[in-house]
């Protein structure tokens, strides 16, 4: 049986990105079931999220491998490790899919909140924002990895991944996630010292300590924390003294098994003006990305946000807003706020027409038009190929990949239909569909490709 599991692990290690393998698969345990059937196993996951993920992405493959290994079908039962945290995990099961607010989950969380609402000074000192919880975070493909990792850390602070390094573009919910970790840990361990700090404020603290010659106090404070949540670490850029102080605080905390969570706008290797010794330490734990939300997730975010405001948002209105504001969650919220304020002032229901009128203030009349030609040219320049190759018959990888990228971008950035896009590239719509799927998958697996896409999107939008 152990041999079988070793084979499975080898397979997954080969197939999955290292990060995913480390996060999800490595800590699983395969056990034999008590009973007569030697081909009946139990696969034990450390928690529910891992189990759900494994069910979806690994189970079929394990069964196939079992069939090959034993020559007959195996049956596998999925279980969660029995730990004191388990009940909490079960309660929050809906969170994973939570796109509409799960009322009973919210109620249970509410209990936790009333506990924290007791004006606890310790909470105030933590600088946490109560509104940013796991409950209020909408999950989708773009952030489910980051969210699951954050929840793991929240359940086992200092033990599972230290540091947890969350990176992603502007306005995608990094700060929300880091506060959610803090709030969840506070709910479970109200007696520990938690501190959320923005990197700029940490820098100010260093400056103040410098001016007031109070470095001892400063050091003592940051090393006394049980949980340090530090936001936007890219702001440490070229601030050498700050980096040095953080380096020592980091070492002291990690050594004492105190949890550190860091957010950044890019992945560790790409941060500018940061010492190598810090960057290498950021890789000690787990690094997870948050991607820009896809259309469906943006719609879900809008609906959730509206329901918090006790407003009903129809699908068509949500789609209209989500189609127009693509790149980040903040501006999505701004647009929704404007639509709601407009409807309230005019005493009208939020209809498509009302939303269109209100959105004029957000988009402006001069909303630049992104054309397919522009996208083709930008992508061709970026990959140093000829624009004509975008619609040529060539199918070598060096040409086909940029072409797929251009198709994906056209789909993301314009309102063109698949056949129209196909036409512009001399292909039919199924090719476009295939390209969109391929690139859509790749961007979650391949960091270089992901970076290319970010740069291209930015260039095209300028």
């Amino acid at each position: 049986m152990n041999d079988f599991w070793s084979v499975c692990l080898l397979c997954f290690e080969k197939d999955l990105p290292t990060q995913q393998f480390k996060t999800w698969v490595k800590n699983l345990r395969l056990e034999e079931c008590p009973g007569n059937d030697p081909l009946h196993f139990r696969l034990v996951s450390p928690n529910r999220w891992v189990m759900d993920w494994v069910r979806e992405r690994c189970l079929p493959q394990i069964e196939t491998l079992g069939l090959e290994f034993f020559g007959s079908p195996v049956s596998i039962e999925l279980l969660v490790e029995r730990t004191p945290e388990t009940p909490v995990v079960n309660d929050s099961q809906e969170l994973l899919e939570s796109i509409s607010p799960a009322s009973n989950t919210a109620a249970k969380r509410g209990d936790g909140n009333s506990k924290t609402n007791s004006g606890d000074q310790r909470f105030e000192k933590s600088r946490l924002n109560r509104e940013f919880t796991f409950d209020s975070l909408v999950t989708g493909r773009a952030n489910d990895l980051a969210r699951a990792a954050a929840q793991q850390v929240a359940m086992n602070p200092g033990v599972s991944y230290n540091p947890l390094f969350i990176y992603g573009g502007v306005g995608l919910g990094k700060t929300h996630l880091i506060h959610a970790i803090g709030n969840a840990i506070y709910a479970d361990y109200p007696d520990i010292e938690i501190r959320y700090v923005h990197a700029e404020d940490y820098f100010s603290d260093v400056v103040r300590a410098f001016q007031q010659k109070s470095f001892d106090k400063f050091k003592q404070y940051y090393r006394s924390l049980d949980l340090l949540l530090i936001d936007d670490i890219q702001f440490f850029n070229k601030k050498e003294r700050t980096q040095e102080e953080f380096f020592y605080a980091f070492n002291a905390l990690v050594e004492a098994k105190k949890q550190i969570v860091i957010t950044c706008d890019t992945y560790p290797k790409d941060i500018h003006g940061l010492e190598d010794r810090l960057i290498s330490r950021f890789d000690w734990g787990l690094t997870v990305a948050i991607e820009p939300p896809e259309l469906e997730m943006r719609v879900a975010i809008l609906k959730k946000k509206a329901s918090v405001e006790r407003t009903v948002l129809s699908d068509e209105v949500a789609f209209l807003i989500a189609k127009n504001l693509r790149s980040n969650v903040r501006e999505l919220e701004g647009a929704l706020n404007r639509v709601m304020a407009y409807a309230r002032f005019h005493g009208r229901e939020i209809s498509l027409e009302v939303a269109k009128e209100a959105l004029r203030d957000i988009l402006g009349a001069t909303n630049r038009h992104i054309t397919m030609e522009l996208i083709q040219k930008t992508v061709a320049d970026y990959y140093r190929i000829k624009v004509s190759e975008m619609y040529s018959k060539t199918r070598t990888r060096a040409i086909a990949r940029p072409r797929q990228v251009a198709m994906w971008l056209t789909r993301e950035l314009t309102d063109r239909s698949l056949p129209e896009i196909g036409g512009a590239f001399g292909r039919d719509h199924t090719t476009v569909l295939h390209a969109c799927r391929t690139v859509g998958d790749l961007r979650f697996k391949d960091t270089v490709m992901n970076n290319d896409l970010h740069v291209l999107m930015q260039t095209i939008r300028e």
């Binding site: 600088r127 306005g171 903040r330 501006e331 701004g334 706020n337 002032f345 957000i362 402006g364």
Partner: protein
């Protein structure tokens, strides 16, 4: 203007009229005006961004808001170009910044930090700029925070509302303004309100200097001679 022996020397006393909500011609900005007044109510977090082309009345509205709200909460009013690396944020206060596109790199970080602290200590932020947030050339982390504000495009006045504004302004200066003059101004001059007001002020000046009544020929003369007249910045809108 050629100097003549009869030219009246003027004691150049300008009409001091502070921009207020009362002397703002509302036009299609009713909702915005109401929303600005709401800033008075609490000392809690709030964030508004007004945008619009030159002469649409942004600065007037900001100044009016500062004046109106100063009674109820501490107000700090700044111009984008003058903001430094530190914006003093008072709990419960209102921070007003005009021309956000002129914020320098340090000032952008300062405003970014204000946004981050705002929710926690109940700061209201009222900003204005020439472009909608999607087109602002600011650092992305700040730009998206501006985009999260409640956003209003300040609507320019219709010609009808502009003529009302001109008449009101003339009345305050004690000018007797003929309909023909208003129509002529709207048809032949630059039609943004500051330019119109500047022209009106110029007309008043030469009418007094030359002791001539306010007539169309006088206006034509003025417009001919001041084709490149810059809008008089001191004139209230």
């Amino acid at each position: 203007m050629p100097m003549s022996a009869q030219q009246q020397l003027l004691l150049d006393l300008k009409l001091e009229q502070a921009p207020t909500f009362e002397n703002f011609i509302v036009g299609r900005n009713e909702e915005l005006l109401g929303r600005l007044l709401e800033l008075k109510a609490g000392r809690s977090f709030d964030a508004l961004y007004l945008w619009g082309g030159e002469g649409c009345g942004k600065s007037h509205l900001l100044a009016a808001a500062a004046l109106e709200i100063a009674d109820t909460r501490p107000v700090l009013m700044l111009d984008g170009a003058n903001v430094g690396g530190d914006i003093p944020a008072v709990a419960g206060g209102l921070i007003i910044i005009d021309n956000v596109e002129d914020l320098g790199p340090d000032a952008q970080i300062a405003l970014f930090r204000v946004f981050n602290a705002a929710r926690l200590i109940g700061i209201a932020v009222l900003l204005a700029g020439r472009l909608p947030p999607l087109e602002l050339a600011l650092r992305e982390d700040l730009r998206t925070r501006v985009g999260q504000c409640l956003i209003y495009e300040v609507q320019t006045l219709s010609d009808h509302e502009k003529s009302a504004a001109l008449r009101q302004h003339a009345l305050l200066r004690g000018m007797r303004l003929d309909d023909g003059i208003v129509h002529y101004l709207l048809r032949h001059g630059r039609r943004d309100l500051p330019s119109l007001m500047a022209m009106l002020n110029g007309l008043d000046r030469i009418s007094l200097e030359q002791k001539r009544p306010l007539t169309l020929p006088l206006l034509r003369e003025l417009m001919q001679s001041t084709l490149d007249l810059k809008p008089d910045e001191s004139s209230p809108v």
